[in-house]
């Protein structure tokens, strides 16, 4: 017997469904209640931004969606099926770039492509070069990872995550270490890739403006324990300019909401 809601889900499955996920870390120094009953549905092709102060469990949620971390209760469904482990259809771009230092820039981008069957070596190289060009590193393809700046590392990580063409991208503060100019350029690029390639993106950031610029929805987290407080629909036409006035209105509203949900000492979110 199927209930009505199950029937509906079968008709139009969510791309990602986070259902009542809780997570507590147990360490020698005590327990950290990182996530408390978090539920979030993400439609196919949606761009969702997670905003919240440091330590509210955003990275943890991303790891759980990626299948790298287990839940204490609740579950994550991807295309209606429970997530049990990591996989290439849900690509993560980590907060720390987590590049492979024994490979050069090109080797890093090729890593995921080499794990994909039915591609010739030449095709792999072309794809890798395409994405390296996209992130503006075409002149550094043989550079050592140690020789790159923090921002350049993030761009390699972005290219590496995009290259295998995942349906879902989980991005953890990918642009935090970049200068404003590169960042603005990448806002444009990421929106273009997202629209052209119909990707579903969950994007974590501390920057409310960034969230409003990129997201169809902005989800607000509060810490201790990590909970979803509010969700905002951003109804602005695309492509969006981060410096536009309409965008600023949204970001003021969201920043105000954020401050409302926070204890004063934990406000460290940039507008």
């Amino acid at each position: 017997m199927t209930t009505v809601s199950e029937e509906l889900r079968n008709v139009a499955p969510e791309k990602l469904a986070v259902e009542g996920v809780s997570k507590t870390f147990r360490t020698q120094r005590g327990h950290v209640h990182a996530l408390d009953n978090v539920s979030l549905n993400v439609r196919e092709g949606e761009f969702v931004c997670l905003v919240g102060p440091s330590g509210c469990g955003k990275s943890t949620l991303l790891s759980i969606i990626a299948g790298l971390e287990s839940t204490d209760s609740g579950q994550v469904l991807a295309d209606g099926k429970p997530v049990t482990g990591p996989g290439r259809e849900r690509m993560v771009m980590f907060q720390e770039s987590a590049l492979f230092p024994w490979l050069d820039v090109l080797g890093n981008v090729l890593f995921g492509l080499k794990l994909k069957p039915n591609l010739t070596g030449k095709e792999r190289r072309e794809v890798a070069l395409f994405y390296l060009k996209l992130v503006g590193l075409e002149n550094f393809i043989h550079a050592n990872i140690h020789e790159l700046s923090g921002g350049m590392k993030q761009r390699v990580a972005l290219a590496r995550a995009l290259a295998p063409n995942p349906r879902v991208l989980l991005m953890d503060e990918p642009f935090a270490a970049l200068d404003a100019l590169t960042r603005e350029q990448l806002y444009g690029d990421i929106q273009r890739i997202w629209a052209e390639r119909k990707k579903t993106i969950i994007f974590v950031t501390h920057n409310v403006r960034e969230a409003v610029c990129l997201g169809d929805r902005v989800v607000l987290f509060s810490p201790h324990p990590g909970r979803i407080q509010e969700k905002f629909e951003i109804k602005l036409p695309r492509p969006r300019d981060i410096n536009s006035v309409d965008l600023a209105k949204y970001s003021t509203e969201i920043t105000r909401a954020l401050k409302r949900h926070l204890k004063p000492e934990t406000t460290e979110v940039a507008e």
Partner: protein, 292 residues
Amino acid sequence: MTPQQIAERATTEPRWIRWTLIALALAFLALFVGLPLAAVFVSALSKGWAVYFAAITEPVAWAAIKLTLLTAAIAVPLNLVFGVAAAWAIAKFEFRGKQVLITLIDLPFSVSPVVSGLIYVLIFGLQGWLGPWLQDHDITIIFAVPGIVLATVFVTFPFVARELIPLMIAQGTEEEEAALTLGASGWQTFWRVTVPNIKWGLLYGVILCNARAMGEFGAVSVVSGHIRGLTNTMTLHVEILYNEYQTAAAFAVASLLTLLALVTLAAKSAVEWRVRQQLKAARHSHDEDLLT
């Protein structure tokens, strides 16, 4: 002031003190390391090259060399697998008894090799715990090759694990996780991420492990039984020759072990440098993570 000038300022001792100290250190080194090293080769060749080669190629010596190589060929790969597995478990997982495991890994370092050998005699020897059972099944371990291999494995098992544990802890799990989300299986992640990440540390551990496996004397001496041509390793063979006053022959075989030591030292310094770079890189990238 440049850093160099500061460094020069910091060492304010007069020049003659510095030179005296250096000269003293060098003289000491020459007396206690250089001289014996030279003595080995001089004594080995004291009766000419013909005697030297005869001593090395004589069947009993040759058997000892082969046994030493065989022992190392078994002990080193075994400890390589054990070392990687132990370091992996310690660096990447939290579990009960982790501290005990780390302490146990150091046991062969802290116990005298003679005791290590005796432990095996106690377990596998005729009078030992498993002795009667082994005899019933026609298995000889003590005073035979298996005993020598076992004792060597025991004595050398900390080398690889000790080398890898700090390296793997410093490196963390981010890179492995990245590989998993890029679609790698557990096996692919191990070969394409973990192994390249630790390869210099691994090589370093293997070099040290090999040197010890070939050079081990105490533990092997206890379990070997000194049967010429059968259970004599190179170190034991040297001792026998020496006890029989065949000095030139003893030093000829010893010179092979000395050469091994020199090669090990050279390889060690080369690899050591790479390991330090790698550790620095791992720590460095971690510090960066903490800062951002």
